[in-house]
């Protein structure tokens, strides 16, 4: 049984070479924004430009380019906007860390408020409720 499986796998290998390139193209295309239909990746889009860009990705990968080289090629032409995952740099710090900073600020505020309320003791439960309302 195992030998049969091995035979099957070996027989399937040449056919697999193409699908893996295709999978690679799709995986990389999923990181690239379609500029015509901005909320789609070029993997999803059927716009002519998306198809052309996918062909570029395929050609370059087939020619031995690394993922980063392909992404750099796109960024050189279309800017960071083409990346679905924006790079971390000073102009995107707010985008990357803003939500975390806001969460921390909110938690800090909550902590301070709760600390302020504690000395009033248990008896003021109902007063606490009106505060919260």
């Amino acid at each position: 049984m195992r030998r049969l499986l091995l035979c099957l796998m070996l027989a399937a290998t040449p056919a697999l070479a193409e699908p893996t390139l295709e999978q690679h193209v799709t995986r990389l295309s999923e990181q690239l924004r379609c500029l015509v239909c901005q909320n789609q990746t070029i993997a999803d889009s059927h716009a002519q430009l998306a198809i052309d860009l996918k062909n570029q990705v395929r050609e370059q990968l087939a020619a031995g380019a690394s993922d980063q080289e392909v992404l750099d090629y796109m960024v050189q032409r279309y800017g960071d906007f083409v990346l679905y995952r924006p790079p971390v740099k000073p102009s995107t710090w707010l985008l990357w860390f803003g939500p975390l900073a806001m969460l921390l600020a909110g938690l800090g505020l909550l902590f301070v408020k709760v600390r302020q309320r504690q000395p009033q003791g248990d008896a003021l439960d109902s007063a606490g409720e009106t505060h919260a309302a």
């Binding site: 500029l35 002519q48 052309d52 960024v75 032409r77 279309y78 800017g79 960071d80 906007f81």
Partner: protein
């Protein structure tokens, strides 16, 4: 009353932020090519198939590269303005007929008028990709040294020509 002021202020600043966001044009993507040399190419001319043209042919001149196509409806909107701009003889406009067939492009220019000093044919859109073209029309302003100074996506309007293009062209011509 006072304790509502803070959340209310927060709410209004959020409204202002979102309101400002609504006014932005998501189609306007800043081009990374501004300040960089115009990518080189040698493409066959639309009218003279056996002659090529490249950005180096315009060295020493301020010029516009206008991307158009016979299938592009927005191009029809800006076309009269380009004809008028060409008539003022202040700047050369080179057309790039993008993903188009030679016969269709030529017929279109015959029908609508030709504001271009010459047009080149980018049949497969490869040069378009080098220029980061993602829609037609697009217009690039290229200076005497062959550096891209401005990119406009979408049709130019009379206002853009008066307030942006002409002042920039004047400034670049002085340099």
């Amino acid at each position: 009353m006072r304790r509502f002021l803070f959340p209310l202020g927060l709410f209004f600043s959020l409204v202002c932020l979102l309101g400002a966001g609504l006014r932005l044009n998501p189609q306007e993507i800043p081009s990374p090519l501004i300040g960089k040399p115009a990518p080189a190419f040698a493409l066959a001319q639309l009218a003279l198939p056996d002659k090529t043209f490249g950005p180096q042919d315009m060295q020493g001149q301020v010029w516009l590269l206008n991307v158009w196509a016979s299938w592009c409806t927005a191009c029809r909107q800006e076309h009269p303005l380009l004809l008028e701009l060409a008539g003022r003889n202040q700047v050369s406009i080179v057309g790039m007929d993008y993903m188009d067939a030679r016969a269709d492009g030529a017929k279109w220019l015959e029908k609508h008028g030709n504001p271009y000093r010459l047009s080149i044919l980018d049949t497969d859109g490869k040069v378009g990709i080098d220029y980061g073209v993602y829609g037609v029309p697009e217009t690039f302003v290229i200076d005497k040294r062959g550096v891209i100074r401005l990119k406009l996506a979408g049709p130019v309007t009379a206002e853009i020509i008066e307030k942006k293009l002409l002042p920039l062209i004047k400034e670049l011509n002085r340099a």
